[in-house]
């Protein structure tokens, strides 16, 4: 049950802020610092929209989603800003990114460390999740570098939007609304990206920040809310499937059609996850 006025403050306004920020940043820098503008656009839009759902974030954070919003996402944005602006060596930026990826599960699942897991279970879970996220980021990064273009923004829009719907249908309003805000921010910036030529698209920043944000939502959704592990896995596999367009059989397709294949490939597991959650929701739903 989302209040009608929420859509203005939790989705439309942050999307507009993200779009405007990206446009101004891109124009002011004459296309030279679009990657930085993209980072700032995502961060600004999300921080503007988050209070509509969960109030002004408190510091120090208590809940996992507060850690995600106040610590993890700003850290990811900061790394992208530093990497893009100061031209520091790529290896250094990559090490920073790796630290954020490895730290993400440990930061968000603190209470499991405190109350639920033994030392060996914690090592297994945190290690496994860190390896999965690290490999996922590396695979996506390679594809974004190999096939730069606006398609990455739209692929992430599908993944994040599907995550929002699945989490909402899984029974967590707050987390679902946070995911909708993030979807709106990606959507706003993706629309602006449409008017930026492909060579200027900020593909270098896009795979990391949404990966961190949406991975955080999957972790919180599964470990603290009711996102099933099957749906978490389906959503987690979605950003990897655009690699399907690289198989030789599809090599003869035009770039536009290959981009369409990538988006279609990402949409398949997302659609399955949404359908499973919707079926479960309609089976269980009852007014209370």
């Amino acid at each position: 049950m989302i209040a009608p006025h929420w859509w203005w403050f939790g989705a439309i306004f942050p999307a507009a802020i993200a779009a405007l920020t990206l446009w101004i940043g891109h124009t002011a820098s004459r296309g030279r610092n679009t990657a930085v503008s993209w980072s700032v656009a995502i961060g600004t839009g999300f921080l503007v929209g988050y209070p509509a759902t969960a109030g002004v974030p408190r510091f120090p954070p208590i809940e996992a989603q507060q850690w995600l919003v106040l610590v993890v996402i700003p850290a990811a944005l900061l790394i992208e800003l530093i990497g893009a602006w100061h031209k520091i060596p790529r290896r250094v930026t990559s090490v920073f990114r790796l630290i954020v990826v490895v730290a993400l599960p440990a930061v968000l699942l603190q209470s499991y460390l405190q109350y639920t897991w033994s030392a060996s279970s914690a090592a297994g879970w945190l290690g496994g999740l860190a390896v999965f996220l690290g490999i996922s980021w590396w695979i996506q990064r390679r594809l974004a570098a190999r096939r730069p273009g606006r398609w990455t923004a739209w692929a992430w829009l599908i993944v994040v939007g599907g995550t929002a719907v699945t989490i909402l249908l899984s029974g967590s309003n707050v987390l679902g609304q946070v995911a909708i805000t993030f979807t709106a921010v990606i959507a706003g910036s993706a629309v602006v990206a449409w008017f930026i030529t492909p060579s200027q698209s900020p593909v270098t920043v896009l795979p990391f920040v949404p990966l961190i944000a949406v991975s955080g939502l999957w972790l919180i959704g599964h470990f603290y809310a009711s996102l099933t592990w099957q749906n978490a896995l389906l959503l987690g596999s979605a950003p990897l499937l655009p690699w399907v367009a690289e198989i030789p059989v599809l090599g003869r397709l035009s770039p536009t059609w290959r981009a369409a294949v990538r988006l279609f490939a990402a949409a398949i597991p997302v659609s399955i996850a949404v359908m499973i959650a919707a079926a479960q929701f309609s089976n269980e739903v009852a007014p209370y």
Binding site: M1, G55, I62, F223, S226, E284, V285, Y288
Partner: protein, 189 residues
């Protein structure tokens, strides 16, 4: 006369020592889960009240000349409103976030005797946040049960605001004020 004065001095010293020691000779009591209830009431759609309870409550207190050291631990996961889907939602991050904050605790800081029983002030921790609460605890009775165990029973009612504990979701549907009705028996150890 000399014996009488000595007896008076012993009596005065005993009273003074007892007062100085406070509850030093108190017995420890553990809450009896079968005779402990934490029931809550909250508004629904500004039309009616919904009732619920927590099924897993543990705790202890010291009882001698006075009451002290009242500690209660409630498993948030044990919330029960009689409807599974609603209970699951209440356990989710929308409300209690019970996987992240598995326990609700109360720890007394100050207990003083009052005309109605005991005035208890302590820290109530829930959903990762701690607030001081004060309530009157009524002593309902104490004594041996038919099986030879020594028991003491208490009850209280208090109101809190869920927003004070960071639970602000769905304000249109779910009221902010929560009335708690608590009754417990302790078994002397």
């Amino acid at each position: 006369m000399r014996i009488g004065l000595s007896a008076l001095l012993v009596f005065v010293a005993t009273v003074a020592l007892s007062a100085a020691a406070g509850n030093a000779f108190a017995d420890n009591y553990q809450l009896d889960p079968g005779h402990t209830a934490v029931v809550f009431r909250i508004g629904h759609l500004k039309m009616s009240h919904t009732y619920g309870r927590f099924n897993d409550v543990k705790g202890s207190f010291e009882l001698g000349a006075s009451l002290s050291d009242l500690d209660v631990t409630i498993k948030a996961e044990s919330i029960d409103t009689g409807l599974k889907k609603r209970d699951d939602h209440l356990r989710s991050p929308d409300f209690f976030n019970s996987r992240q904050f598995p326990v609700i605790t109360f720890k007394s800081a100050k207990i003083t005797a009052s005309a109605e029983g005991y005035l208890v002030t302590g820290d109530l921790s829930m959903h990762g946040q701690t607030k001081s609460v004060t309530f009157v605890l009524h002593k309902l009775g104490e004594g041996n049960d038919p099986w030879g165990n020594y028991r003491a029973g208490f009850s209280t009612e208090l109101s809190i605001k869920r927003s004070d504990y960071g639970m602000t979701n769905m304000p249109e549907a779910v009221g902010d004020q929560v009335n708690l009705f608590i009754s417990f028996e302790g078994l002397r150890q």
